[in-house]
């Protein structure tokens, strides 16, 4: 699209690292070949994904405009950049930032790219990456060239590859860390990038590093492989190493990582990861994407068997000097400050004091603090990026990092500079207080730009942010420090499972109308590197979610025991009371049409499903009743799980799935019996084989939950299997609602 693309190629020739330049040249050629129809669309799709070039919502050339589905008549006609992905449709460019570390020049490059190729905004993700939206495919090689010139790559930012290696953004400054994990994270990132052993995965593979066990910053428990810094004494000498965890992951059904080894010496982390990668590539699922993450392999083999296989693999690896060549530099790695540290405390106005409380954190090095720049919804403008570059140059040795809470941290700020840096940030709208508090809502892109989005997570996040800022929880630290995280669908990019108050998008049909909803997920734990996952409590219309937040926080304030955390409070009062507390919010008020559109999007939601005329009353079909009953059974399974009745919980979850399936089967065969085999056979025939139950992007994943549960119906449940089954049952019923919505109101009522 840009007239200057060829000129950039010429201009940057010889000015970028050779390996990165070669990568981009290859991709540039592939773009040209695909445009000429000489490269298969599937092959091109995978190649672009491995360079971080994603599709975006409506890229199939169709968009519901609120009245009808519009065909987008793009100039390139039917040319595609992947299956059902139009060439000219705007896309997303993801940019990898290992450990979130940037310098000022890189911030300026990102600013230029956001301005020239996107919509003026750079978006920080929950994995310390950047994303640019509304980018044209033909501009992506130039974007990559300009990034390469700034020593940034997009390689393997998407696709079935090793994704960004994340790390605690406070590493090296944190008072509680064991040691600085930064150089190890960067070494692993460099080692795995393009590694031949990492090119044949069935799905993505995400590593993370943390310097301590107690804080959240590294989130090692939810990663495919997580490294937690530890030391031990060997012959009187302190030896660095890592506790290594494998098989964690969020996604539709979250898995807590399992301990692989309590001490892996630093010289072993690269070869061990290489061995894990080889095992994953060799034994991991390839055909069924929904079971292709390493968490399923670890679960299927069992952690002990998995360890054994990996250790055997490790023994077969040919020695590689890169395994240890980084170690000397790693041990000596240390960032340095620009200005002398100072312990003098600062004074200023109320807002400044508030900012000091929430947006600064003392470093372990006396006289220095880490300053957090809280970004609303992870968004930052090009001008703000340039100003941030100026600020980090002026006050630090350009030590700035992105965080998994979609913010920046500026490290090594002298305490005496705080008033001045606050002023500088405030002048460009980057000094909002409240970092890491309830107002600092984390969200994925949701229906704004994501193809998978079901509800508007960003719209909801913006609304909650606005309302919560007005409510001002400063007087109540326990409420103020709660975390809200929102995903637009079940895929957990907004990390809703580990929030105090998590939400993920679902749709429900109310009186023949599709209504955007969010599942409320409670009981997750952000601290302790994502210490535990929450469970869904109820599906609530999007427009009622702010009321849910008000009611739950209010109930917590009134009913908590002294010192009781929100997570413990939720556990104590139990799912039954929670359900009852939210019951009246679970359905939209009759006649209120505002519920039929989502936050920030006035289009009526899924209009294809709507009849003519007003929504005057509640017409509930038998299918809706049956799906509602199935949903209640999932809730009963949750209650049983909560009460330690593991076996009963698993069985009830399975039964809920059967009832959900039966609800749909009854549309075709009202006389279907209660026999489980019959239900599953007919469900497979009518809904799976016909692909009616298929999710546009997850395919038959949710139907497989039923088939697997049915196959294992007689097998005793463990705590893990029961927990997974409950999550799967909820997702199966969400999918049944979606399927029913798609079938249309004619069969429904």
């Amino acid at each position: 699209m840009k007239a200057s693309n060829a000129l950039w190629k010429e201009h940057l020739a010889g000015k970028t690292p050779e390996d990165l330049a070669r990568e981009v040249d290859i991709f540039d050629a592939e773009v040209a070949l695909r445009k000429q129809g000489k490269l298969d669309e599937r092959l091109f799709a995978e190649t672009r994904l491995r360079r971080g070039v994603y599709g975006q919502r409506y890229d199939n050339g169709q968009r519901h405009d609120g009245a009808k589905v519009q065909e987008m008549n793009y100039p390139s006609g039917t040319l595609t950049k992947g299956p059902s992905t139009m060439w000219d449709a705007p896309g997303m460019q993801r940019i990898k930032i290992p450990a979130g570390g940037l310098d000022a020049g890189q911030l300026e490059t990102l600013a230029e790219l956001a301005e020239e190729y996107s919509d003026g905004i750079a978006h920080v993700t929950t994995r310390q990456d950047f994303q640019l939206h509304y980018v044209h495919i033909e501009d992506t090689p130039t974007i990559m060239r300009r990034l390469a010139a700034a020593k940034i790559t997009t390689r393997e930012a998407c696709g079935n590859s090793v994704r960004n290696v994340t790390a605690c953004p406070y590493a090296g400054t944190c008072r509680d860390e064991v040691f600085d994990v930064t150089p190890y994270a960067k070494a692993l990132s460099k080692f795995l990038m393009g590694h031949p052993d990492c090119q044949n995965f069935g799905r993505k593979f995400k590593p993370a590093f943390s310097g301590c066990a107690q804080h959240a910053c590294g989130l090692t428990s939810l990663h495919d492989i997580g490294f937690l810094a530890v030391t031990r004494q060997e012959n009187g000498v302190e030896k660095r190493g890592f506790q290594v965890y494998v098989g964690g992951g969020l996604g539709a059904v979250p898995y807590m990582a399992k301990l692989f080894d309590s001490f892996v010496p630093v010289e072993e982390i690269l070869p061990l990861t290489q061995a894990v990668a080889r095992v994953f590539a060799r034994l991991g699922e390839k055909r069924n994407r929904s079971r292709a993450r390493i968490k399923f392999l670890v679960q299927d083999l069992g952690i002990e068997k998995f360890k054994e296989v990996v250790r055997e693999e490790r023994q077969t690896l040919p020695a590689d000097p890169r395994w240890t060549s980084f170690l000397k530099d790693a041990e000596e790695f240390a960032e340095v400050p620009l200005r002398p540290g100072d312990e003098t405390s600062s004074s200023g106005g109320e807002r400044f004091k508030r900012w000091l409380e929430t947006n600064t954190r003392p470093q372990k090095q006396p006289g220095y603090v880490v300053v957090t720049v809280a970004l609303p919804l992870g968004d930052i403008t090009a001008n703000q990026l340039r100003s941030l570059a100026d600020i980090v140059r002026k006050f630090t040795m350009e030590t700035v990092r992105t965080t998994v809470e979609q913010n920046f941290v500026i490290r090594w700020v002298s305490r005496r500079d705080l008033p001045e840096i606050y002023e500088a940030l405030d002048a460009v709208g980057l000094a909002d207080p409240g970092a890491g508090t309830i107002v600092d809502v984390v969200t994925c892109p949701g229906t704004d730009t994501c193809k998978l989005g079901i509800s508007s997570s960003r719209g909801l996040a913006a609304e909650l942010r606005k309302r919560l800022a007005e409510r001002n929880f400063q007087s109540d630290e326990a409420v103020e420090n709660l975390h809200i995280k929102i995903s637009g669908c079940f895929n957990s990019c907004g990390q809703h499972h580990i929030a105090d108050l998590g939400f993920y998008g679902v749709s429900r049909k109310v009186g023949g109308y599709a209504v955007p909803h969010f599942q409320v997920v409670l009981g997750g734990e952000w601290e302790h590197n994502a210490g535990s996952y929450g469970l869904p409590v109820a599906a609530i219309p999007s427009k009622n979610v702010p009321k849910v937040v008000t009611r739950l926080t209010g109930r917590y304030v009134e009913g908590r025991n002294p010192g009781e955390s929100f997570k413990d409070f939720i556990k104590r009062i139990g799912k039954a009371e929670l359900k009852s507390l939210l019951e009246d919010l679970a359905r939209p008020p009759a006649g209120d049409r505002s519920y039929f559109s989502d936050w920030g999007d006035p289009r009526e939601y899924s209009l294809e499903d709507m009849g003519t005329g007003e929504c005057a009353g509640e017409i509930v079909s038998s299918v809706e009743f049956d799906l509602g009953a199935a949903e209640r059974e999932v809730f009963e399974a949750q209650l049983a799980f909560e009460n330690g009745q593991i076996e009963q919980a698993g069985k009830t979850a399975y039964r809920a799935m059967l009832h959900g399936a039966k609800a749909l089967v009854k549309i075709v065969n009202p006389a279907i019996s209660d026999d489980a085999d019959q239900i599953v056979i007919q469900f497979r025939k009518d809904y799976f084989d016909t692909q009616k139950f298929w999710d546009p992007f997850a395919g038959g994943k949710f139907a497989h939950y039923l088939f697997d549960a049915h196959q294992k119906a007689g097998t005793p449940h463990t705590s893990d299997s029961s927990r997974y089954l409950i999550d799967e049952a909820q997702l199966f019923i969400d999918a049944a609602h979606s399927c029913y919505n798609k079938l249309g109101s004619s069969v429904a009522v």
Binding site: K2, D65, G66, E116, G120, T381, G459, D601
Partner: protein, 192 residues
């Protein structure tokens, strides 16, 4: 020097009183009716970002927005697709498109006349650092062409031009007419 990707922003009067929320359904209607020359695709809502892009109507060949960059709220046209012709043709095309958007917004009943061109202030910039690096040499080369364009736009009325001289910023100029103009007059000046 061939310029592409011309951006023009017509600043609105009384920006403090402008609420961008009602603009969103208006832009959705524009997509429904495909009311512009460009293929209109989607809406990006950045109301939560201070001094940001505001609300953006994403198009294939160009974006329209109520943009608040540099705390200067205005109706912005961002040309993304290349155009044939001379630089002057491209200035005119971008300005006409932005003015037509202003005209539509001024006439929108749902906006209650709140979004109106202030009559005097226009920002013009080139959204491509390779074609138009923001340096003294480029500014000197561009200046005569811009003056011809603004002379036409303002039909001889005096105006001032202030270049943004930060080399990191896009090549751009803020122009202020010495007397106010209506949108219709400016369109007329450009097309006749």
């Amino acid at each position: 020097m061939e310029l592409q990707h011309v951006n023009v922003k017509f600043l609105v009067s009384d920006p403090q009183s402008v609420d961008l929320e009602p603009l969103i359904p208006v832009f959705h209607r524009w997509i429904q009716g495909q009311v512009c020359e460009e293929l209109l695709l989607d809406i990006a809502d950045y109301r939560h970002v201070p001094e940001g892009p505001g609300v953006v109507l994403i198009g294939h060949q160009a974006d329209y927005s109520l943009d608040n960059t540099n705390n200067r709220l205005g109706v912005r046209y961002n040309r993304k697709a290349s155009l044939d012709g001379t630089n002057r043709d491209r200035f005119r095309q971008a300005a006409c498109s932005a003015l037509q958007a202003c005209q539509r917004l001024e006439a929108e009943a749902a906006l209650g006349g709140k979004i109106r061109f202030n009559g005097r202030d226009i920002d013009l910039f080139i959204n491509d650092r390779m074609l138009a690096p923001n340096g003294e040499e480029t500014r000197q080369r561009l200046d005569p062409e811009l003056k011809v364009f603004f002379d036409t736009l303002f039909r001889g009325t005096a105006y001032s031009m202030t270049y943004d001289t930060d080399p990191r910023h896009l090549l751009g100029v803020s122009v202020r007419a010495s007397q106010p103009f209506g949108v219709t007059d400016l369109i007329h000046n450009l097309v006749t």
